[in-house]
């Protein structure tokens, strides 16, 4: 029995239904998100150049997600490489 009494349209019952609906939507979206993660984790199996690029990154253990140069491995040693001869 809901807090709102026996009326099927009571706020309590509606809120339980609403919560269940929101829970279902959340579960469905999380499933979709999991599927997206699974697909991306397998992106290296793509045929063609896109797959090649990702396979090359994975083979060289390159972090293609770094946002700033200090997140790249060995960043402090990269400063004076390309200079005019």
């Amino acid at each position: 029995m809901t807090r709102g009494g026996e009326n099927g349209h009571s706020p309590g019952r509606g809120s339980v239904r609403g919560r269940a609906g929101r829970g279902r939507r959340l579960a469905a979206c999380l499933l979709a998100l999991g599927a997206l993660a699974l697909l991306l984790s397998q992106a290296g199996r793509l045929p063609g150049p896109a797959g090649d690029a990702i396979r090359e990154n994975a083979a060289a253990d390159r972090d293609a997600t770094a946002l700033f140069y200090t997140e790249v491995d060995g960043w402090s040693g990269r400063s004076d490489e390309p200079r005019g001869r």
Binding site: R22, G23, R25, L26, A28, C29, L30, L33, A37, L40, S41, Q42, A43, G44, P49, A50, A53, I54, R55, E56, N57, A58, A60, R62, D63, A64, T65, A66, L67, F68, Y69, T70, E71, V72, W75, S76, R78, S79, D80, E81, P82, R83, G84, R85
Partner: protein
């Protein structure tokens, strides 16, 4: 940044109303004594917390920052031997941010309780980003944190116990103060003029072009959205978007939109540009410089440059590094421009110096101060290696703070607001036209600087 959705409890800014110009949150009125202002503003707290974290790292009190491990097929590998470290990190961040929250009018215990939920989302974001395939594809924690937040807020809704911890501005601005430490101006001197030509001549031109194109040709109504997209496109993607969004007090969904676009296009450019360069037989060094000046995120630059060979990879990385350093200058100039021009469009509205100071987002002082401290005090005093060790720590902390901020922004955003910005396709048009202009101009600069025209070829 400002809220455009319901703010979390404990925050003073009502929906659709910008935060106070000085970034204060929870401050009852502008006549509060200055001392209270220093403890009641997110901008100032970002400086205190950022300074505290830098001091802890520089004094050797912090020897490592917990993170998740890489994993391929077994998810448990991500947590192997790291759970205790993550718990300590979560507790530490919860404690310091709760102190700030309480000083700004929030509640210590409620913030702590909500923070662990938010930290859980951040851990989940890093967990997904650290999967080797996803990492190689260039889909980082920012993407997952925003997406997870959006999923929760747009389906089940944000639970009330989580709301007190949703202080995205505090996390972003504190992260930006730490980011300041990573901007080493003294490194510019060692990088050589060719990289400077590509990174520093083109970038300001592209920003100005995109800003004028967005506001005058596309007639986009939000200048802050335009500048955030322009900075993300021309400087360094997500980190530039964060810095300029904070400097221009952009709305959270504007930052979400700019970051989402830059993340998607970065992955595309990381794959397409090396292919195109190889297909036309371009000099790999010129191609590397082109990639370094145009691909938004540094990780993608390194990956794309490496596909052209070792030397091209180095050139790409260094050009990007020089461009990264511009972020401090850009954020500062945007903050000043916003205070003096955008917020005061008429000549009669131009604020006096004292008013400029009052409106200036104060975190920018911490951002620049950290940069100057590391560039001109700590590096000469401690040496490059010691400073690099400190930056490795602050960089990890900054990553966690940005991740918390993105999860928080996702939780505070809604699809309807995002769809409103995308309507008409103007932000995408701005990005595409701006990036096309950037590609052409950077190619010209790369050819002039690295093609043996203005300088000797690089080695």
């Amino acid at each position: 940044m400002t809220d455009d959705v319901s703010p979390a409890p404990g925050r003073s800014a009502p929906p659709n109303r910008p935060s106070p110009p000085d970034g204060s949150a929870g401050r009852p009125n502008a006549s509060a004594p200055p001392r209270r202002g220093l403890l009641a503003s997110e901008d100032w707290w970002a400086i205190w917390l950022g300074g505290l974290l830098i001091a802890v790292a520089a004094l050797g009190l912090l020897t490592g920052v917990a993170g998740l491990g890489r994993w391929t097929a077994n998810p448990l590998e991500a947590f192997d031997g790291r759970v205790a470290g993550l718990a300590i990190l979560g507790l530490g961040l919860a404690l310091v941010t709760a102190l700030a929250a309480q000083a700004m009018g929030g509640r210590f215990i409620q913030h702590q309780a909500g923070f662990f939920g938010l930290f859980g989302l951040a851990v989940l974001s890093y967990f997904l980003a650290n999967q080797t395939g996803i990492r190689a594809a260039g889909v980082g924690y920012a993407f997952w944190a925003i997406l997870l937040g959006l999923v929760v807020s747009n389906t089940a809704g944000v639970p009330s116990w989580l709301k007190p911890a949703l202080r995205s501005e505090l996390y972003i601005k504190t992260g930006l103060v730490l980011l300041g430490a990573e901007i080493l101006f003294n490194r510019i001197l060692t990088l050589g003029p060719p990289g400077l030509v590509v990174a520093w001549l083109v970038t300001p031109v592209v920003i100005v072009f995109m800003y004028r194109f967005g506001t005058r040709v596309l007639k986009m109504t939000s200048p802050s959205l335009v500048i955030v997209i322009a900075a993300a496109t021309s400087v360094c993607g997500v980190s530039a978007a964060i810095a300029t969004a904070a400097a221009a007090r952009a709305k959270k969904d504007e930052l979400t939109l700019a970051v989402s676009m830059t993340l998607i296009f970065t992955v595309l450019m990381m794959i397409v540009m090396p292919l195109g360069i190889r297909a036309v037989g371009m000099d790999p060094t010129v191609g590397g410089a082109w990639i370094g000046g145009t691909v938004d995120a540094t990780g993608a630059v390194v990956a794309a440059g490496a596909m052209l060979g070792e030397e091209a990879g180095q050139v790409a990385a260094v050009v990007k590094m020089i461009q990264n350093i511009l972020i401090g200058v850009v954020a500062f100039l945007v903050a000043v421009y916003w205070v003096t021009r955008v917020d005061a469009p008429g000549a009669a509205d131009r604020p006096a110096t004292a008013e400029i100071w009052r409106r200036l987002p104060k975190f920018i002082l911490g951002f620049l101060g950290a940069s100057l401290l590391f560039s001109f005090v700590l590096t000469p005093a401690l040496g490059d290696d010691a400073v690099a060790g400190i930056i490795d720590l602050t960089s990890d902390l900054r990553g966690w703070l940005f991740c918390l901020a993105f999860a928080s922004i996702g939780l505070e955003s809604n699809f309807r607001a995002l769809a409103g910005h995308v309507a008409g396709g103007r932000p995408i048009q701005l990005y595409v036209v701006g990036q096309a202009f950037n590609l052409v101009l950077t190619l010209l600069a790369a050819w002039l600087a690295f093609g043996g025209v203005l300088f000797d070829p690089v080695s």
